[in-house]
Symmetry: C2
Subunit: 229 residues, 2 copies
Amino acid sequence: MEQILPHLDSVFSIDCVLFGFDGKELKILLIERNEEPFKDWWALPGNIVGADESLDQSASRILYELTGLRGIYMEQYYAFGDPGRHPQGRVITLAYYALIRLGGDKELRPISTYAKRANWLPITDLPKLAFDHQKIYDKGLEKIKRRIKHQPIAFELLPEKFTLTQLQHVYELILGKKLDKRNFRKKIVSFGVLKELDEKQKGVSYRAATLYRFDKRRYAKLFGKEISF
Amino acid sequence: MEQILPHLDSVFSIDCVLFGFDGKELKILLIERNEEPFKDWWALPGNIVGADESLDQSASRILYELTGLRGIYMEQYYAFGDPGRHPQGRVITLAYYALIRLGGDKELRPISTYAKRANWLPITDLPKLAFDHQKIYDKGLEKIKRRIKHQPIAFELLPEKFTLTQLQHVYELILGKKLDKRNFRKKIVSFGVLKELDEKQKGVSYRAATLYRFDKRRYAKLFGKEISF
DNA sequence: ATTACTTAGTGTAAAAATTACACACTATAT
DNA sequence: ATATAGTGTGTAATTTTTACACTAAGTAAT
């Protein structure tokens, strides 16, 4: 990424678009840069790929260093490499996205040193981003919009046990449109990858909803068949 | 790519999976390597990204150098960068695919010098490939299988004027299954991106089929709506 | 205990899309 | 004229999608 600038002909980095969901809003993790260029700007977190790492390993390491999280579903989605994208030299960057549930049990570990601070900012109100990071983010959002229609990625944003209303909420946020409650339930249940639990939601001041869990086993068996929203 | 090996810490290259269609079979372009490592093996054509090129420009240049073709629909789809993928050092490569119609008017220009020869080989009978090129190819095929369901890429494999039977043939080859003729026609026509011409097929020894053309303008207007096979 | 409030949870009918399926037509070659 | 090979077309049954509104269940306040 951009915070370290060795004097090489070209640098290969990974930038991460970390989508977080706190139960209400979709957010992304941004850092405020402490160095030129783009000092004081917000930027996507990223880093340089290590010599002996695979790309996925590198992405996992970077995610870990920035958030303390492991075992997160993460996927590379596009390489950005315009010669002018970095003012100080050729930096080709590979973009990954990850989906993370926020709040709840463990708080995210504070971030590495190269930034003034890091913050989860709601995607509805993002600041101007450094470099071509707006473009990287845009493409990432586009990507998960498509992917959520065919892959069970929404569950990554939710706690292990969730209600159908919460799940619907995630779909609505990512797709950017309201869905019909009855039709949503009919369809999502018909995929057969949800396990209805005997438990109910707790701590709400109204009728508690049934909790569900994503059933990875049954999903694995479906392989080949396509989910389609 | 792999034929040139400057003594740098890491090298960034582009490899191309060029799918070609000759009216009968799906083929890909392979080169026979003339140098170690993997001397005499078949490999995907590729090259190193130039210092002042964007990634897409670089891919276009490489395609042009290898085939003499310009203006081909081409898209990056995955970066491969396992530390061990190249025996002589770290080479991160970005894979692009392109779809090309073979035969007909202009023959492909012969290939650069770094290979003994280049050949279009049917995908049903591929040799062992150098490096991790089998993996790159597999992922590329997977990619176009998905993409052909939502994007009008099949037309890139056909001449400008084509029959519905030829179009169906392309879909069947890529999807790897037979389709019903009447249903296929109903659906593909319903998308509204085909222009029926007044011309008929020529040179066949049976009833000549009507020719169609892909209507880019009407497709552009559809943007937002999804084609779905 | 009654009431007010808030979200959970459910069914159906109409419309649209998908599937399965077979034969007559047309051009050419002999 | 006849054989041949691929073109081009319609419909009925099934499945999927859409649109739509009320009762049930639990909590909170009185």
